[in-house]
């Protein structure tokens, strides 16, 4: 039953992703053309709520559901990876208009061609794993 909480978190995310239209290629296209505030408002308020929560968790040393201390792992300081990987990700995001969460959501809405994108994203992850040690960090 422990898995139910993960299933429900996913379902809720999927519903929000549909209702907020963040799964729409048009919304991503609009965002990169700076013609609509919608996506900026969503990402900005998500970070504002997230940052407040993280701050509260740290300040009051809030424990997780199992009573364990919550620790926030720092992201590895690999700035070349972050930049080069980020640019590649952005090129893909700008083209197909979907990042990984929305890809799965679109599959649920019945956009079957997104399965090609998901399969290809798995392939991209696989190829990254093969050549990761040779890439600039």
């Amino acid at each position: 039953m422990k898995n139910l909480r993960f299933l429900l978190s996913g379902i809720l995310f999927g519903i929000i992703a549909v209702k907020s239209e963040i799964i729409s290629w048009y919304r991503i296209h609009e965002m990169f053309l700076f013609k609509s505030f919608h996506m900026y408002g969503i990402i900005g308020t998500a970070i504002a709520v997230g940052a407040t929560g993280v701050w509260l968790i740290k300040k009051y040393k809030i424990k997780d559901i199992d009573g364990q201390p919550i620790s926030f792992a720092d992201k590895a300081p690999l700035y070349k990876s972050a930049l080069f990987g980020g640019i590649m990700f952005g090129l893909g995001w700008g083209l197909v208009g979907a990042c990984p969460g929305p890809m799965y959501t679109l599959l649920g809405t019945g956009i079957w061609s997104i399965a090609v994108v998901i399969a290809s994203a798995v392939a991209g992850t696989f190829v990254y794993g093969l050549i990761a040690h040779r890439l600039p960090r």
Binding site: F6, V18, S24, Y26, D66, G86, G92, P100, G108
Partner: protein, 186 residues
Amino acid sequence: MEFILQPWPWYVSGPLIGLIMLALTYFGKSFGMSSNLRTLCALGGAGKFSDFFKFDIKAQNWNLIVVLGVILGGYLGFHHLRYDTPLALSLEVVQDLEARGFTEIGVHLVPNELFGLDVLSSPRGWAILIIGGFLVGFGARYAGGCTSGHAISGLSNLQLPSLVAVIGFFIGGLVMTYFIFPQLFQ
């Protein structure tokens, strides 16, 4: 119910996404929608080819359950919690896409020109989906996260690498939108 069925404004959706991130944190996990791609590789036996895919798959099961939920949520949200109304898009964007030969703009969540099933009858249609997906998968792992892991979780925790990654997302997205996309759809 009326409010649920209408499209949700950004000031409702954004905070809810922030709360999902905090809920997963409270459950002892983290919010990241691309790490499951690595788990899928590992499940498919990728550990035979690279140590990058050798890890305790069972410890990542929760991630695949989140994905299953996301797919179900997409189904529920789209078929049961939504009016089938067109998107309220910026007029300028609609006109620009019209000039590029796009039709039924905003009628569906995604354009037929990229995702309609007939694109799968042309090599060009396949190429766009394959290249886009590949870049997202490769880029997310190389960068160490995607929109959820870097932009939302990482920036919420004031991580400098996440800020660099988000700047990268925008450099890539802007180059695609302003320079490459106009060449692909003239």
